[in-house]
Each structure stands twice: as C-alpha cells, then as structure tokens.
Amino acid sequence: YLFFFQAEDGIRDAQESRGLGDVYKRQVPYQAPVASEEFESWALILLFIGFCLMMWFFIYQITYRKVERYLIKELTIGLLSALFLGSGTFFFLLSVGLYM
C-alpha cells in the first residue's frame, strides 16, 4: 500500500504540547514479562532442566531393550526436553542481546 500525503498544515504551537502533557500522564513505562536482568538466570535454569531431561531420555534409550521401552514415555520426555531446551536457548539469545 502506498499512502501519499501532501505537506499539510504545519502550524504547531503551545496548545499542542499542553495536550500532550495530559496524555503522557495516562501512560506508564512498558515492563517486559521477564526483566532483562533475569534473562541469564532463566536461560541457565531452563537449559539445565532441558539437559537433564535429555540425559534421562538417552539413558532410558540405552538402559532398556527396545521391547521394554514405552513409546509414550519416550515421546513425553522428548517433548518436555525440547520445550525446555528451546525456551532456554531463546532466553540465552535474549541475554546476549539478540532480541526477537
């Protein structure tokens, strides 16, 4: 889409800025769901839990023979570890300054 506006009325004076002051009072600074100081902590904890789950998954694969393993258990552990590792990586990237 392209909207083309001609340079229009350019008169601005004090009344405009007086109105803005009232508007500014109704606005508060934005707070992110996770404060930037906590990004590293979240990343570490989530990644740690994710790695633990991933290790549990591998050990489960190695310890039991194929017929003794339960698919449901494999899928559940796999999914959980993926969730934690994924969000842990996300917070890790946030902590080094790559905001998505």
Binding site: Y1, F3, R12, Y30, P33, G86, F91, L94
Partner: protein
C-alpha cells in the same frame, strides 16, 4: 467611516530563486512561540513577482494602529558555493553568496536594514549602500521600499570549514516486546566544499603537516539517547574502530565522536551505519486504562546536530500482530507508506511504517509517537517455537 480590523494573519514572501534552497521558516511573535508558516496556493501575484508566499497565523490578534514585533528565521541550504570550485590541498576555501539586501515582502516597508555576519572581512562585497565593519557588512538603511523589492548583492569570503551534508539517512527502529528497541541508522555523508584540483597524495596531506586540507571533514559529533547500549559504528567493509563514546549524565546523552576511515575532501562521500539499542522501558509506554494500547515515543531528528539531511526515512518495525497503528508527528511528513518486514519467528511479517521527511534540520529534533494495539500473550509463541 471605515473601521479598521484587528489582524492575526501575516504573509511572508521569499524570492523564487532562493525558495528552492529553503529548508525551514520559523516565525516567533511576542508570545514567544515558534510558528511554522504554510505555503499558499500559487496565484497571479506570486507569478507576477516571481515569489513564493507563506501564510502565518499568529497566536493573537494585533489591533489596528498597534505595532507587533516578529522574529522570522529562515534556514537555507546550498546558498553558498565554493569559489574557486577547485583548490589545492594548501589553499583556503572561499565561498560566494548572492542575496537580496532589501526586505522582500508582500507589504511595503518603511525602513529596513540588513547585516551580513561573516567570520572575517570579505574578499569582495557589493559596495552599493554598504558599510563594512570588519566581518559585519551592513546594507541600508533602506527607506520606503515597495512590496517585493528586489536587488542582488554578492559576497565572496573565506570559510575554511567543511560542508557536511547527509544525502540520505535511513533509520530502522525495531520494537521487541521482550524489552528492547533496536535502532540502526544508515548515513550517506558528503562534503560539499571546494574540490581538490590535481592528485591527492599523502605526502602533502597527512596528520603531521598542519594547515593542509583545512576544508576536509575529519570527524563528526553525535548525541545518542542517554540509555543507549550496544552502540556500533560500521560500514560495508566492517567495523570502524575510530570512534569514541561517552555516557554523560550532565548533558543527559551519550556523546559520540566518529572519524570516517578517511578524511573527506571536497566532493568526497562516505557511507556508514551507526546502531544502538534502547531498553524498552524508556521509550515504550502502555496506557494505564487499556494495557493492550502501546505508545512508542522516538526522536524524529538526527543524532548529528548542525548537519542537514536531504532526505530522512524512518522505518518503524512493530511486533507481528500489532494492529490499529496510528502515528503522530509534530510537523508534516513528505511521505508515509506501510509494508511488512520479516524477521525471527515471523509468519505474516511485522507491520512496518515508513516515514519520509525532506530537508531535515535541527528543528526536526522533536518527539513522535506511534501507537498500536498488541496482545502481550502472543509473544510467548516465540520461545515455544
């Protein structure tokens, strides 16, 4: 008997030959407010006198037979041209300018006087009606000038400073609701001073030889917002290490000095990027009554003061899923358009608004607001992916 009216409208005329170089007019009346005049439609009067007329709505009425003082500030660019156009590395840069010493106005003028303030005595000035006092050349006083009085004087004087101009500045502002605003500026810088005649060589022009290449552009100063972090200065080749930045609480800004890879002589150009980040809490605001309503407040001017940008494009990239986007600028824009940007985890793209302003000067250093609605819960989608 005709009753005389009170007026609150005033008209300013600018000769057409100078109007194309006009960046800004500001009018200040006794209430000390800066008013921007509006150009009126072309009409026969303007065609007849080869003038452009601007209309000012004053902040109050002036009664009949009353006097009013107005301060009119006109900012021009490219009015001074280097003469000679090409100089050697050892010579000083001289510039010439043509101007109308009479007050060019749609109204008759009882008395007028024009003073040209130069740094030093000029090489040449038109002598008619002129009184020279060192660097100040006074023309007039002229009495009983009619409307649209025209004449031409010429000044030729020394000005050894570089003439930096940004041919194009593009700013990309990316908003992330995880708490950061990332800003990257791209600059096309040119030095429009006297060009170099002959070959450039480092034997004559180097940092050890003084008083050579006086009109070369060696460094620029910028002011970034106080809470900037992650500042970088780079170009297509890579990072440029010749820069310094200092967070100054006294001036409430980050003072940055950059030195381009090479000193820009007259006619030379250089492109570079300057990027920085701002924590969202300083520029992004939420409406108390309606927490889905967000306001982004950003600076609409350049971080370099005293340098004009011929074209300034501001791109604001909002998070995917932002709707009902409005914007508010304290001055009129030349062009507005909307597009989509694609970045991490995007499906339909991030709404991007592109604002273009021409001939940006220090006056444009104000705040603009972009307002949008966004459902905060949708950002959880990103880590889940």
């Amino acid at each position: 008997m005709k009753k005389k009216k009170a007026l609150n409208t005033y008209y300013i005329a600018v000769p057409r030959e100078y109007d194309q170089f006009l960046a800004l007019i500001l009018v200040r009346d006794k209430n000390n407010k800066d008013i921007v005049p509006v150009r009126i439609q072309d009409n026969s009067v303007q065609a007849q006198y080869n003038a452009t007329i601007y209309k000012v709505d004053l902040t109050h009425y002036v009664e009949s037979n009353q006097e009013e003082q107005l301060i009119i500030t006109e900012t021009y660019f490219n009015r001074m041209s280097a003469l000679p156009k090409k100089i050697t590395i050892f010579e000083d840069q001289n510039v010439e300018i043509y101007d109308n010493p009479h007050f060019f106005s749609p109204y008759p003028t009882e008395k007028s006087q024009t003073t040209y303030k130069l740094a030093s005595s000029p090489i040449f000035y038109t002598e008619e009606d002129a009184t020279a006092k060192g660097g100040n050349i006074e023309y007039g006083p002229y009495r009983n000038d009619g409307a649209f009085t025209r004449s031409k004087i010429r000044l030729h004087f020394e000005n050894t400073r570089p003439f930096p101009v940004f041919k194009n500045v593009t700013r990309v502002i990316e908003v992330s609701h995880w708490g950061n605003i990332a800003i990257e500026d791209f600059y096309k810088l040119a030095n429009e001073g006297a060009e170099l005649t002959g070959e450039y060589n480092k034997v004559d022009f180097n940092k050890y030889t003084q008083h050579t290449g006086k009109n070369s552009l060696k460094n620029l100063k910028a002011k970034l917002p106080y809470n900037s972090w992650g500042v970088y200065y780079k170009d297509e080749v890579g990072n440029i290490s010749t820069s310094r930045a200092f967070r100054d609480s006294a001036s409430n800004s980050v003072d940055m000095t950059i030195e381009p890879r090479f000193a820009l002589l007259g006619g030379w150009k250089s492109n570079f990027y300057i990027g920085y980040n701002l924590p969202a809490k300083y520029t992004l605001f939420v409406e108390k009554a309606d927490p889905t309503n967000y306001y982004l407040r950003q600076n609409s001017g350049l971080i370099f003061k005293g340098i004009m940008a011929e074209e300034f494009t501001i791109k604001v990239i909002l998070p995917e899923g932002a709707t009902e986007i409005n914007y508010q600028f304290p001055f009129p824009l030349n062009e507005v358009s909307e597009e989509k940007s694609f970045s991490y985890f995007d499906f339909e793209g991030r709404p991007t608004f592109v604002f273009k302003i021409k001939n940006v000067v220090d006056y444009h250093d104000q705040t603009f607001t972009v307002n949008y609605k966004f459902s905060q819960n949708s950002i959880i989608r990103e880590p889940l992916m």
